[in-house]
């Protein structure tokens, strides 16, 4: 088995470069190492100037998303052994501005996330004395999958629509909107549908499906968007047929 492997890492140092370049590092190969371990090894022992984000190293925090050999991946869950003999190319996520090396700016997503109201919207809160909002296991099951999103942005990196039309609300934000729409405690679906039916909402999606492919938490944003389209369209038909009802 190989004793070393070459990492080819995208570097962008705005103080001295106008566009990214690649730098190679020869690192020891360990079969239990993920790409993030390799980057940490580089930062600790070879080049302290390498910048990237990470935190939990167990697929929960969603900070370490990068492109590995061209595919968006959580680097904490991407083993070096799957990319032998190398070299392994590590790049920042696509479709976001690069701040430095492997760090991208996510302000655009955070802004969009807020727009979709990813919280429980109530027309009227019930008084505390009446206790909590109860939910059956089946009601939980209806949205649980979409609640697994960790905002790692792999889906935005994989979405060519977001790349071509940056105003598109995008896969994760729509999946999270759907997560609250399907929650039995929520009453905000019609508020969200207003935004989602606009130009930058669900109808921008042409169902490439790559967001679902790259999602490390099996959220299936592509499914969420198509289900949203179906309910949006049937809502529209209903409002045509029964203009006095369903408001």
């Amino acid at each position: 088995m190989a004793s070393t492997v070459t990492l080819s890492v995208a570097r962008y140092r705005p103080e001295k470069e106008s566009e990214p370049t690649f730098q190679t590092y020869e690192i020891p190969f360990r079969k239990d190492w993920v790409v993030l371990d390799a980057l940490n090894y580089v930062k600790d022992t070879m080049d302290g100037s390498l910048s990237y984000r990470w935190s939990c190293r167990m697929g929960v925090c969603g900070s370490c998303g990068m492109k590995v050999n061209g595919t968006p991946k959580l680097t904490c869950a991407t083993f070096l052994s799957d990319y032998l003999p190398g070299p392994i190319r590590v790049e920042p996520l696509d479709n976001f501005p690069v701040v430095r090396d492997l760090v991208v700016d996510l302000t655009d997503f955070i802004r969009k996330l807020k727009q979709v109201k990813p919280w429980i919207v109530r027309k009227e809160e019930k008084p505390l004395a009446e206790g909590e909002y109860l939910q059956t296991p089946a009601e939980l099951d209806a949205y649980k999958q979409f609640s697994m999103c960790i905002n790692c942005m792999l889906c935005y990196s994989a979405c060519p629509i977001y790349g071509l039309e940056p105003s598109f609300i995008g896969p994760a934000a729509i999946a999270l909107a759907q997560r609250y729409n399907l929650d039995s405690r929520d009453q905000g679906a019609s508020e969200r549908l207003k935004l989602m039916s606009e130009d930058d909402g669900i109808w921008q999606c042409t169902f490439v499906g790559e967001c679902t492919e790259v999602c490390p938490k099996h959220v299936d944003p592509a499914g969420a968007i198509q289900q949203y389209k179906l309910s949006g369209a049937s809502q529209w038909v209903k409002s045509l047929l029964l203009p006095w009802g369903t408001r």
Binding site: P14, R100, V208, G209, E210, Q227
Partner: protein, 150 residues
């Protein structure tokens, strides 16, 4: 005038890359025109988008056929004769292949858009796809029966 604006208003091009603390100079990549060749799924997607032209062609052909039927036997004969020319035979074959391609890929995608729950459980994807195929076979059988019987 005689000067060509090289940068948007309010933005000056500097020969040396410039960096100010807390005001990072972000690098924005533009998507290549060839993005759809970068990965097989993208290529497949664009293929589905482009070949929808043939699906539109097949639908137009049916409309044309109905129009010929309405115009009487002579017009319909003319329509049939035109269909037998090599150009239309080729177009029809290509259109049939792409209509099948679209039908199959769309059938396979239905469980993504339709979540059906029965008895508190989600109906598995294969069952939803299966119902689509079954309906396709039954309807095609009914059409074939109606045509061949007559």
């Amino acid at each position: 005038m005689g000067q060509v604006a090289a940068a948007p208003v309010g933005y000056t091009v500097k020969s040396e890359p410039h960096y100010t603390l807390y005001h990072p100079r972000w690098y924005r990549r533009r998507m290549s025109v060839w993005w759809w060749l970068h990965n097989r799924a993208y290529t497949f997607f664009v293929l589905r988008e482009i070949t929808s032209i043939f699906v539109a062609f097949a639908s137009l052909l049916y409309l044309w056929q109905v129009r010929a039927l309405l115009q009487g036997p002579q017009a319909y004969e003319g329509f049939l004769a035109r269909l037998k020319t090599p150009l239309f035979l080729t177009l029809d074959t290509v259109a049939l292949l792409f209509v099948l391609f679209h039908a199959i890929t769309w059938f396979n995608l239905t469980p993504k858009a339709m979540v059906v729950r029965m008895g508190g459980r989600r109906v598995p994807d294969w069952a939803i796809i299966g119902v689509n195929y079954a309906a396709w076979i039954v309807l095609s059988g009914a059409v074939a029966f109606a045509l061949l019987r007559g």
